[in-house]
């Protein structure tokens, strides 16, 4: 079971995890990205490429399903404006083996960073700037090739 959502609404972690637990696999791994509050950012705005975003995320989820024995994969990404403390992204997997669940979770978030069309703009008080891509994200994604 694959669930992908690109949404302006806050990410409801409890509901997402419960849906994965109900797959009956025995193990659920998750990674949640949260807007950091410690670097002066007052607002974060996520732009994306409607249509392509959803199909890119489904593609990443399908690759994870093909690579590990999983009973569920969920990817939820928030778009639009958000503030420190808000969840930006949630990835979760359900599997009988904990290692499959945790490894595939790492795969999903590493791939999402480089293979899905999102762009972050940070506001720091009255200033704002587009976030630059990081080489380390390319390296992290490449370790799965």
């Amino acid at each position: 079971m694959i669930r992908v959502s690109v949404q302006p609404a806050p990410i409801e972690l409890g509901i997402e995890v419960a849906a994965l637990e109900e797959r009956g696999a025995g193990g659920v791994a998750t990674f949640t990205g949260v807007v950091r509050s410690d670097d002066g950012v007052t607002e974060l705005h996520l732009e994306h490429y409607p249509g392509m975003t959803e199909s890119a995320l489904v593609g990443i989820a399908e690759q994870a399903m093909a690579r590990w024995d999983l009973m569920g994969v969920t990817i939820v990404h928030r778009v639009g404006p958000m503030v420190p403390g808000d969840r930006i992204v949630f990835v979760g997997t359900a599997a009988s083996h904990r290692r499959a669940a945790l490894e595939s979770c790492a795969y999903l978030i590493d791939r999402l960073k480089t293979d899905a069309p999102f762009w972050k703009r940070e506001r720091l008080g009255s200033d704002s700037r587009w976030v630059e891509a990081r080489d380390s994200d390319g390296d992290a994604a490449a370790r799965w090739d």
């Binding site: 392509m52 999402l112 960073k113 972050k120 587009w130």
Partner: protein
């Protein structure tokens, strides 16, 4: 060959719009050709598309390298490296 071009993030801001329909001449065969040709459309285009190294692209919603042939693309998107997650 008419094609819809989409722009995102600071490319969109510099161009001044998110979408336009263009009809490039026959000799525009690759994405790189298209980007070079688009630069002539306005100062905003010229600024946004000045540095190929800072640009990434998709044809019909699939990431492709800038050397890719346009073929019979219906939708081309030009944008900075992605920063989601």
């Amino acid at each position: 060959m008419a094609v819809t071009v989409l722009y995102f993030a600071w490319v969109r801001e510099a161009v001044g719009r998110g979408e336009e329909k263009v009809d490039p001449p026959e000799n525009v065969r690759t994405l790189s050709d298209l980007i070079a040709w688009l630069r002539g459309r306005s100062d905003g285009h010229a600024e946004a598309l000045a540095d190929m190294d800072r640009l990434r692209a998709a044809i019909d919603q699939n990431f492709v390298p800038l050397e890719a042939e346009l073929g019979d693309a219906g939708e081309v998107a030009i944008f900075p490296p992605v920063t989601g997650g």
